[in-house]
């Protein structure tokens, strides 16, 4: 681990930046700089010398969560596609040709909480990338024909996913678990809304003006670059981007008081799928209860869990046990999903999940099990930091949800502090039946 600090010049006239080093207790094995431009744009620089390649993430803190207007589910994702349709200064063909000439690996993805645009490229092309990226974030321009053609491509993307039964299950689960909050729909959106997207050309311009603003955006650079040069380029190219972000009013989800259930029929053959999901906690990196709740997923349903060994290995009634106790900006669903080999065992598997949860509320885990869990969390994280790409990809979620990456250290410090009793208390507070939703998917034949 690097323990020696190398001073970094901070450009005058801008908001104060902070230099982060690493220490033995910290999880991030590198130093980084985080600062803000006057217009609110947040920048995180993580230099990793060697290799000649770097990765550039532009993270807009808008995702399907922000789709508050009726009939616009899936729009954040659709709009991500439009960001590749050119600007006043660089029409699509010119943009594509410049990316091609650089041999950059460029792409984007949209999640429930944020949208990330990422490029990996040779470090010598940094200025071109800053120029192109800052340009499309400020001066995007496309015509209605391009807009409508892209809507058709997005419908194609929806179609390619439809043969996956897990997607059907997830869609039904969210729709059932939420009444008000926009997590009610998945990121791709409802089919009916995707069909009407070609008519939303004017709305798309408004969407861009509202969400694609510096205060709502984080730049994350990793890899082999000179941080001073990067900083200077970012100041030059993004400095005049006007602020003006207005946060949408996301409807709060009323407290759930009763278990819900939905049954889905899948068009085709599939193993039955069962999901049990609880209303989770929003990412609060300094909250021990949130950290403990997050750990419960791995502890109760992960590959090392007693339940996995019983249902998958010993009894062989379940083929996959998948767990997702994810990090979200607002309370997301914390779920366990099982593909059950025989339809007749669905009830049994559900009862085993319930028994597991009930036990976790009554009994705290043994000290050595908790140590093993903490060690696993630590190495799971560290193993995924091996390239600039992977570092950026793993930190993007924290940046997208919280605006920075301080949350990583805070969260891991919380994990370290969590006691066996904390885990039991978190299970008691968060995994009650009344906070849960069950979804069952079965094949048609």
């Amino acid at each position: 681990m690097v323990t020696v600090l190398i001073p970094l010049l901070i450009a005058a006239g801008l908001a104060v930046g902070r230099m982060h080093a690493t220490s033995a207790e910290e999880i991030l094995p590198f130093r980084f700089t985080e600062y803000r431009l006057e217009n609110g744009l947040r920048v995180i620089l993580i230099p990793r010398p060697g290799g000649g390649l770097m990765t550039y993430y532009s993270i807009v803190r808008t995702g399907s969560r922000d789709e508050v207007e009726e009939g616009t589910t899936g729009f954040a994702h659709f709009f991500e596609h439009m960001m590749f349709r050119g600007s006043k200064n660089f029409p699509a063909a010119r943009y594509d040709s410049m990316i091609t000439t650089m041999g950059a690996n460029a792409n984007a993805y949209t999640t429930d909480d944020y949208t990330a645009y990422h490029l990996s490229f040779a470090s010598e092309d940094l200025e071109t990338v800053v120029m192109l990226e800052s340009d499309r974030f400020q001066f995007l321009a496309y015509d209605e024909e391009a807009f409508q053609t892209e809507a058709a491509a997005v419908y194609g993307e929806y179609r390619k996913g439809r043969s996956d039964p897990w997607e059907s299950l997830s869609e039904a689960l969210h729709r059932t678990a939420y009444d008000q909050h926009t997590y009610r729909h998945t990121t791709i959106g409802f089919e009916a809304d995707i069909k009407t997207m070609p008519g939303l050309f004017e709305y798309s311009k408004e969407f861009y003006q509202r969400h694609y603003r510096p205060e709502n955006t984080v730049l994350l650079l990793t890899g082999d670059f000179d941080p001073e040069e990067a900083r200077s380029l970012i100041d030059t190219y993004y400095g005049s981007w006007p602020s003006g972000y207005v946060e949408p009013a996301i409807p709060a989800e009323p407290e759930q008081r009763q278990r819900r259930r939905v049954d889905v029929t899948y068009d085709g053959q599939t193993q039955p799928l069962l999901a049990v999901a609880w209303m989770g906690e929003a990412l609060k990196p300094s909250s021990k209860r949130m950290a403990a709740g997050h750990m419960l997923g791995e502890w109760l349903f992960g590959e090392g869990s007693a339940l996995y060994k019983k249902l998958v290995l010993k009894e062989q009634k379940v083929r996959h046990l998948a767990v997702d106790f994810g990090l979200n900006r607002d309370p997301g669903l914390w779920s366990v999903m099982a593909s059950v080999k025989d339809k007749r065992d669905i009830r049994y598997v559900l009862s085993e999940i319930e028994k597991t949860v009930a036990l976790s509320i009554q009994t705290a885990p043994a000290k050595e099990d908790l140590t093993r869990l903490k060690r696993r969390l630590r190495y799971s994280f560290l193993m995924e930091l091996d390239t600039p790409d992977h570092i950026a990809a793993n930190l993007a979620r924290y940046a997208g949800i919280t605006g920075g990456i301080d949350a990583v250290e805070q969260l891991f410090a919380c994990y370290a502090d969590v006691t066996a009793t904390d885990l039991r208390d978190a299970a008691s507070a968060l995994l009650g039946k009344e906070r849960s939703t069950i979804a069952v998917l079965t094949g048609r034949r």
Partner: protein, 500 residues
């Protein structure tokens, strides 16, 4: 970097360490040391694959590999193994392809000492128990009956194409096998497959990252405990010649049509024609890249689907990965075009559009401008193919397979710079014949589609959005583009009968 104590390694400390040098690559070893890398990557290449499955026992190579990596050893039950791996947040797994089986692992150097015996026990002392066998075999049967047939039409289309193109060869069946043959396989079959192919002389050790030289010594000593002997692999697959457009239509009650088409090619890495063909393919259909010509036409201009790409080497799991995955080296490759799902009513049009683009590419070749741009693109882009030591190790293994000297990606960049336009256009004409292809289509209403194909029925496309004059003009040609399909060249198979 964290300290790491290696007691056993010290006991067998060799002269190599004392001399302070890394053991050089040898016939059975590919080392990639990097002391600053806290991750140690391991790849154990066993020279066997699904082509070695005995007839009627298709899936045996994959099942055997899984019995090593997802099951008990003579030292620990699988449940105990999971317990031991759990705090290290690591695992070992097997990738099985037609000709290669590779057991891979990535482990943090802090955990190497704890991890190593687990991996070695899996390779040297698999328990091959009936209980594990039942679980794994059921999973594999389900992977075909519920997974391949029903949960991912894109993969289904591609698997159908490969089976179709390589029928009557050892490449024909999917690596996972066939339902009937899996049901026939017994634990004894696994035992004999393991005994025959997992020999010391049939394994190449690859290791990369922050390991200690003594670890290599230890690995070599351990692998040498396996029986001696290197079995002979099957002969080179000889796919049937393709005359005309031949169709395999998979009838399925699906929401969109998936189309894959291809022709076998025997141009491999290192051969003179490989580099020009590589350049052409990148221009025509670089995987999931908007620079691709097909993508520009089918998706960007026509909005037909989510993307369209082409390949000159097998590219597994294309729906989920952006960069190629190493360790799928083969003696026989496939030129393949993959159209992501299109609406059923656009299937004939999309197929015509893609075949017309291929025909135009063969007729006109690439232009100097296109070639120059593609060269500039690839010169940097191929660096993204292998960013981790784990990937680079995989590529080095593939180079060993192909008899290629030097780092493949370095060689690739150097060779691509030297390729002339004439070489590219000659290679296109030599290897690609758009009139002679096999085409696999997963669709609803296969019989009606077959009728449209045979009669070359016009297939006008109605867009949701207004289109440019150029697109409309092209469409007029595409919708009546003749394919000259003969009825006897169309086979219709219900999805439930695939991979039986």
């Amino acid at each position: 970097m964290s300290s790491y104590v290696r007691p056993l390694a010290k006991m067998i400390l060799s002269a190599i360490l004392l001399a302070g040098c890394t053991p050089p690559a040898s016939e059975h070893l590919i080392p990639f040391p990097d002391k600053d890398d806290p991750i140690v990557s391991l790849r154990l290449w066993i020279k066997t694959g699904s082509q070695c499955d005995p007839t009627g026992r298709e899936g045996l190579a994959a099942l055997t590999a899984a019995m090593l990596t997802r099951a008990s050893t003579k030292v620990h039950s699988y449940s105990e193994i999971l317990d031991l791996l759990y705090p290290m947040a690591t695992s070992y797994q097997a990738t099985v392809d037609k000709e290669m089986t590779v057991i891979t692992a990535r482990v943090h150097v802090d955990n190497l000492e704890e991890f190593y015996p687990l991996l070695i026990n899996a390779v040297l002392h698999p328990a091959l128990l009936e209980d594990d066998f039942r679980r794994i075999r059921t999973d594999m049967i389900n992977a075909i009956e519920k997974g391949l047939r029903y949960s991912d039409d894109e993969e289904l289309g591609k698997a159908a194409l490969h089976t179709f193109v390589f029928e009557d060869t050892p490449y024909a069946h999917p690596v996972v096998g066939r339902v009937a043959s899996l049901k026939k396989i017994t634990v004894d079959d696994v035992r004999s497959f393991y005994k025959r192919w997992y020999t010391g002389d049939n394994i190449v050790i690859g290791i990369a990252g922050g390991y200690d030289d003594a670890l290599i010594e230890r690995l070599q000593l351990d692998i040498a405990k396996l029986p001696v002997g290197a079995p002979t692999p099957p002969g080179m697959p000889a796919p049937n010649e393709i005359q005309g457009l031949q169709f395999l239509l998979v009838e399925k009650d699906c929401k969109a049509t998936s189309i894959s088409m291809g022709v076998p090619i025997d141009v491999l890495r290192g051969q003179d024609d490989f580099w020009p063909l590589f350049l052409f393919n990148s221009w025509f259909g670089e995987h999931r890249n908007s620079s691709s010509h097909l993508y520009q036409v089918l998706r960007e201009a026509q909005g037909m689907n989510y993307g369209a790409y082409s390949y000159i080497e097998f590219f597994p799991n294309g729906g989920h990965t952006h960069m190629p995955t190493p360790n799928h080296a083969r003696r026989q490759q496939l030129f393949e075009i993959w159209l992501r799902p299109v609406r059923h009513e656009h299937r004939h049009f999309a197929l015509r559009a893609a075949l017309r683009e291929l025909q135009m590419a063969v007729d006109s070749g690439m232009t100097q401008e296109q070639l120059d741009l593609t060269k500039r693109f690839l010169d940097k882009y191929v660096r993204h193919y292998a960013k981790t030591a784990f990937d680079r190790l995989g590529y080095a293994m593939d180079s060993r397979f192909y008899g290629l000297r030097g780092d493949y990606l370095d060689v690739l960049r150097k060779r691509l710079r030297r390729v002339s336009l004439d070489e590219v256009n000659t290679a296109i004409r030599t290897y690609l014949q758009p009139a002679n292809l096999k085409i696999a289509v997963v669709t609803k209403g296969a019989r009606a589609f077959a009728d449209s194909l045979v009669t070359d029925a016009p297939s006008p496309v109605i867009y949701d959005a207004p289109k440019s004059v150029k697109v409309i003009e092209d469409d007029a040609f595409i919708q009546v583009y003749p394919l000259a399909v003969r009825r006897e060249n169309i086979r219709i198979v219900p999805v439930g009968q695939m991979f039986r």
